[in-house]
Symmetry: C2
Amino acid sequence: MSATDPQRITLIGLGTIGMSMAALHLSRENVVVDIFDTRPNFDQYVLNTLPNFLSQDSASADSKPQPSTSSVALLIASGRLHIHTSLETACASATIVQEQGPENLEFKQSLWAQVEALAPLPAHFWTSTSGIAASAQQQKMDNKTRLLVVHPFNPPHIMPLLEIVPSPDTSPERVEFAREYFSIPGSKHRPVVLQKEIPGFVGNRLAFALLREACYLVQEDVVSAKDLDTILMASLGPRWAGNGVFESYQQGGGEGGIRAFLDKLGGTMQAVWDNLGKVNVLGDEETNWKEKVISQVNEAYGALTPGQVREKEERLKDFVETQTKKYGHDSIPEA
Amino acid sequence: MSATDPQRITLIGLGTIGMSMAALHLSRENVVVDIFDTRPNFDQYVLNTLPNFLSQDSASADSKPQPSTSSVALLIASGRLHIHTSLETACASATIVQEQGPENLEFKQSLWAQVEALAPLPAHFWTSTSGIAASAQQQKMDNKTRLLVVHPFNPPHIMPLLEIVPSPDTSPERVEFAREYFSIPGSKHRPVVLQKEIPGFVGNRLAFALLREACYLVQEDVVSAKDLDTILMASLGPRWAGNGVFESYQQGGGEGGIRAFLDKLGGTMQAVWDNLGKVNVLGDEETNWKEKVISQVNEAYGALTPGQVREKEERLKDFVETQTKKYGHDSIPEA
């Protein structure tokens, strides 16, 4: 079965990421979505919450009436969306099962053992975890070739990246199926397959490396949290929205490319690398930065209102659309 | 004198950054620019090279005829631009002297001692260095209150950020003058004043922290250089083009803000921080990554042609213009 064929996707865990993921899958016309969650009044929660994600998924949200609970009712009536309160019925017809449950190893190990017993034999198993490798989650499964990580960036219905991270046991065909699913022509999503499991995968490792230094610079009073954000938005953000870090330094080195860049800036770079901040998020002594960072961030931005969150997601969508429309990221990436 | 009054700026060192900086200053109608460089045939070099930067500085470059040597000739004829082959005449009438010379401490110390003897007493002294603090450069000056770092990001005529980094001796009035100069209404530039000198300042420290991890991940075969670039462009680039790192995690924590984010992701984050890559750019043993990174980058991108560089700068301009037009970054930042 090809990933471009009609699919029936079971989503387990409908928190913020799950809802956004549901909107992503529902944007594909040949996909039926089954959703399962253990929270009370799940039906009503879906009717209230899902419209927020569906509206943002439209490229022309500004000019259209906002989707309401009636649009969800329509998806249900037309058989595109099924709400389940039993894992058994949710998984019964799945070609893909994707979980966005708690980040807890025991929960996930137990879940996949149950899902394996409930879902049809060919079904693909995807976990949206940001931190627990497939090789750890699969321990209680009989067939370990079916599970892989599909790590989205928040919010997945807008953010193009999906990190596909197989365990050493995952079958190559299932990796390729997931890559193909998110690469269909017209998709703004850009799946990337990692060659090895590693804590934090790649995107968050890069983000956390930068965040650690950011926290250190605030702790050391070099710059305020808000000014640091301005610096990032006024330089590296737009640079990396248009070109990757390696491509940027290939350009930065002029005719000699990245080799010339590393030669020329090597002294400054090593000086920086030798004294990058070593703040820790856990433990006592090295966490003094936390209260300073948290209070400066709260002072700068306050608690974000739903309207502000919506505005931030619109910004993100603007930049993603500039990428996809102008720079050809809307076709199938090279394998 | 206010920074919005007419200024006469002497630029010393007209390499790529210097040319771009000249274009930045020439975009302001009440600024006269004097340029000085020791390279042979400096006049002809300016006539050949500066038009490339002037054309890119126009927001509507697509619809206008490309500036040619005649536009530079016009700037000269109208008295907006003066080409000098003597430091003495270049500095004689300056209200601001800005250097983009070699990144060499002795050169800069010697230069500022000379400039101090040549320029009018009120003139402001700015260094575009990316690595040598004002407190080191000022050692041979009589009056150490006049010099500060104005660190641009490449290319400064497009990139909004200017890091203003005073030495402990720089007068606060001169810091405020520089901040005000780059903050005039309508400017797309966003100056940020750092509170302390630190190697690499802030922007490059953040970039180099991420780059170090990027090199490590390529070295470890987790991901190719090109796929890593795709990951960055498909996630963190557009996120940080619209929102800073702290603001993003304030959002990522939901109602609990960045505190909830640090609580929830603390385990994964610490695991990542504990094993971030420690590659070095200098020294023997830990530089094995260099040839692998360089060869993958060369294979992915090749040597960039002038046309490709121009295209990349157009991308950058697109993202910067989306920021400035839609999100109100075109007004004077808060002090």
